[in-house]
């Protein structure tokens, strides 16, 4: 009897993890900046977008984790098997390019958040990159995942700092459910940006691979689905508090543009040192977390898709391409942050363009795959689900194309 209960508990804990982690990493340095910017400039008005964003996230993430559980194969494996090497190759090349700039943005997040604590980036960035490399290469999977789960807990920083700012809860509640549309170009840009940064191509690859790695089976899938949904909601809750904190601290004093996430943290200073420090600590945690996951996930995805040996349990000699790619992403991603005058903002805009071009392809492939009877057996999408999924893809594609246009306009400036 004792053994049985432990079995069920084991299933529960085995399932907690991938969906939650993926959703949390989505709130990385770039995400935090977007949400802070929205709150600082428009106050509580943008809060309503979080509801549809959560739905879009749930729909896409659910399909990935279901595919992982049923087929036992990663998304890049499936794309390779069903659509061939050339398609996979171009997707992987775009993914590496987009993720490399994401890694840069997150190392920049590490550097600037720790500079708020008065530590030079020439110390923090090399240390952080070494720590990331060692943690992933030398750590065991279960230990690394425990650290990751702990990191997700640290996102509570944002909730606390949001509360400390003493925002207007009544307004926050009202605007969470009341959609406000304005024909102000800045406002529309911000809305598109919020949706655009919330669903990224790498998430689909990472989540599905992580579900496979955990060994979640089709039978245990019900638990995984709950976890994905809870994870997406938790991500939106964090985003809510970031917007609310910036709305309460910055917008209510004087609405303005902020230049980066540390700017937002500084805006919280009048509301007490604790709120400011927590916001900065949250930024550091999120950036470091994403800087761990992105290079790892990218190298896994690329090697699996192209058929190279991969995995941190392999030796360097056995999986050279995997390790070179992983190391390269970290070294370049961290290195450019230390180069004075490096056009980081332009790189991030370029990354948004690449991500935006890649995302529709990834989503369409996902829906095609998840509807293949041969792969998914009885777990294919239902008609209603397909209608929802295709609608989500069309909406996301439309918004992403708009984001691409905006980013290109910005780049041309």
């Amino acid at each position: 009897m004792f053994r049985r209960t432990r079995y069920h508990l084991a299933v529960f804990f085995a399932v907690i993890g991938p969906g939650f982690i993926t959703a949390m990493v989505d709130n990385d340095a770039g995400g935090i900046f977007t949400y802070s910017q929205a709150g600082a400039k428009y106050g509580y008005l943008p809060l309503w977008t979080l509801l549809p964003i959560t739905l879009l996230l749930i729909v896409t993430q659910e399909m990935c984790s279901r595919m992982g559980a049923v087929t036992g194969k990663g998304l890049s494996d499936l794309i390779r098997e069903e659509f061939g090497l050339r398609t996979t190759f171009f997707m992987m090349a775009a993914l590496v390019a987009a993720n490399l700039t994401n890694v840069m943005a997150n190392f920049a997040g590490i550097a600037s958040s720790l500079e708020l604590f008065g530590i030079s980036r020439y110390i923090t960035v090399p240390l952080a990159s070494a720590a990331v490399w060692l943690l992933v290469v030398k750590g065991t999977y279960s230990r690394v995942e425990k650290i990751f789960l702990f990191a997700t807990a640290l996102y509570v920083c944002y909730i606390v700092s949001g509360v400390m700012v003493k925002p207007d809860w009544k307004e926050a509640a009202i605007y969470s459910v009341r959609p406000v549309l304005m024909l102000d170009p800045g406002y529309i840009t911000m809305l598109i940006g919020m949706v655009g940064t919330s669903v990224a191509p790498w998430m689909q690859f990472y989540l599905q691979a992580a579900v496979v790695e955990k060994g979640v089976s089709a039978k245990d899938y019900a638990g995984s689905r709950i976890e994905v949904i809870v994870g997406c909601i938790a991500m939106s809750v964090i985003a809510f508090f970031i917007i609310v904190a910036c709305a309460g601290a910055i917008h209510s004093v004087r609405p303005r543009d902020i230049n980066d996430a540390t700017d937002a943290a500084l805006g919280l200073k009048p509301f007490g040192n604790a709120a400011y420090l927590l916001f900065s600590a949250g930024l550091f945690n999120a950036s470091l977390f994403a800087a761990c996951i992105l290079p790892l996930s990218t190298s896994y995805t690329v090697c699996e898709g192209l058929g190279f040996e991969s995995g941190v349990n392999k030796r360097f000699r056995e999986a050279p391409i995997f390790y070179w790619l992983f190391t390269g992403l970290i070294v370049i991603g961290a290195g450019v942050v230390l180069v004075p005058g490096f056009p980081l903002v332009r790189m991030i805009l370029a990354s948004q363009v690449i991500n935006g071009i890649l995302l529709p392809f990834v989503l369409v492939f996902m829906i095609l795959l998840v509807n293949k009877q041969r792969l998914m057996k009885k777990w294919v999408n239902s008609h209603i689900y397909n209608a929802v999924a295709w609608t989500s893809v069309v909406v996301l594609t439309g918004l992403t194309l708009a984001l691409i246009a905006l980013s290109i306009r910005e780049l041309m400036r």
Binding site: F2, R3, R4, Y7, A14, T71, G72, K73, R80, E81, G84, L85, R86, F89, G215, S217, A218, K219, L306, G307, F308, E309
Partner: protein
């Protein structure tokens, strides 16, 4: 003599010329019929999206990079046939097992040898290509001329697996039979290496492998697989097949696997097992996994303490299954209570008529069935044991914990 080689990527899309140099179409796929010939390409298919024509190997006159020239234009329409392995559809981009390199690999390309046989050219499969060179070849095909690709690729180191070491995984048992796919290559691998491969496969492929392999090989491999995956594999198999495999496993390991299953399923499997192994496994299932009883094996050699060295050797001989692993002999009195232990080699070196009592048996270090696993590990460390007898409340011998069980236990922590 590079002309004698042809790659599948080059073959696909190659023009097929009829008798008057008329172009009949381009190659769409090539098929092997393993029951007819293990390595010779039996037929090619030409044509477009809707109708395909079949070219039988004996209708081909000459094969070269400039095209395929037929000696007979009498082509039949394509019809699907379960006994052929279509290379583009069934092999390219799929995963196979490299029995020599002991890993799972993804097929990038296939290398053929063009051989003159009875006055016409035939294609023999030589190698399956993995690695960078074949990725480059696939990507460049159709973009650059074939001969130029050959020149360029020679700069990249080749990475191929001889066809004789390739093992295809086919989930459909009917097709496996028709395609003459055997698991004999895999069965020759070491169980631990095989287990590593199994862990890398998708659930469907694992099921296929464990259904096709000999039960004893499957049992050895299964004992080396990660416990979570063990349970998933057993759950996926037919009850009868699962019982066959578990019968071949060591009872303590079989009990561990059954203990991880849901109650109803483990009972169903036990029901199908033969009486002798079933009784042992059922007995072991009574104990909690984390105790001496859960760790121990019920197979051991015990002799009466008034027996001779010759009797003891005879007792070992009568249990050939476990003769390999016997390190210690256990002496018991008339009630089955443990009175002493002697190293097996001592009985071997003694005169056959010497009484075991004269061989200076040692006072046994024992564990009780309910002792905690950690305590058992301590005893092994303290007394430098190879085998530790486990006794029940009456001091009767219940089983033996061996050093390999302890290594597994400690590694799992």
């Amino acid at each position: 003599m590079a002309e004698q080689l042809l790659y599948l990527t080059e073959l696909l899309g190659l023009k097929v010329h009829g008798l008057n140099q008329r172009v009949l179409g381009r190659v769409s796929d090539a098929a092997l019929v393993p029951v007819a010939h293990p390595v010779r390409i039996d037929r090619l298919f030409i044509g477009g999206a809707f109708t395909w024509l079949t070219v039988r190997q004996e209708q081909i006159h000459r094969i070269g990079l400039d095209g395929i020239f037929l000696s007979d234009e009498n082509l039949t329409p394509y019809h699907p046939d379960e006994s052929m392995l279509r290379l583009e559809r069934d092999l390219l981009d799929q995963q196979i097992i490299d029995a020599q390199g002991r890993k799972v690999v993804r097929v990038n390309d296939v290398t053929f040898e063009v051989v003159r046989e009875d006055g016409h050219d035939v294609l023999l499969i030589r190698e399956v290509d993995i690695g960078l060179r074949s990725v480059f070849r696939r990507l460049a095909q159709g973009v650059l001329p074939r001969r130029m690709i050959r020149r360029l690729q020679s700069r990249i180191a080749p990475n191929s697996i001889g066809w004789e070491y390739c093992s295809i995984i086919e989930p459909d048992p009917q097709r496996r039979l028709r395609l003459n796919i055997s698991t004999s290559l895999i069965e020759k691998m070491r169980p631990a290496d095989l287990a590593d491969i199994v862990e890398e496969l998708s659930p469907d492929d694992r099921e296929a492998l464990f259904t096709a392999m000999e039960a004893d090989v499957a049992a050895e491999a299964l004992s080396e697989v990660d416990p979570d995956i063990q349970a998933q594999i057993i759950e996926s198999l037919e009850t009868e097949r699962a019982a066959d495999i578990l019968e071949e496993m060591d009872p303590d390991e079989a009990a561990d696997v059954l203990g991880d299953l849901e109650e109803r399923m483990s009972e169903e499997i036990l029901e199908e097992m033969e009486d002798a192994p079933k009784a042992e496994v059922e007995e072991l299932l009574e104990y909690d996994e984390d105790t001496a009883g859960g760790l121990m094996n019920t197979e051991f050699v015990a002799v009466h303490d008034s027996a001779t060295a010759g009797d003891a050797i005879e007792a070992v001989r009568s249990q050939p299954d476990m003769a390999d692993g016997v390190t210690t002999l256990f002496l018991t009195d008339i009630d089955g209570r443990l009175t002493g232990v002697i190293p097996a080699t001592r009985a071997l070196l003694a005169r056959p008529d010497a009484s075991v009592a004269e061989l200076s048996p040692e006072e046994p270090v024992t564990a009780h069935v309910a002792d905690k696993a950690a305590r058992v590990a301590e005893l092994f460390d303290k007394y430098n044991l190879l085998a530790l007898p486990v006794v029940d409340d009456e001091g009767r011998m219940a089983g033996v914990v061996t050093a390999d069980d302890i290594i597994t236990l400690l590694r799992r922590k």
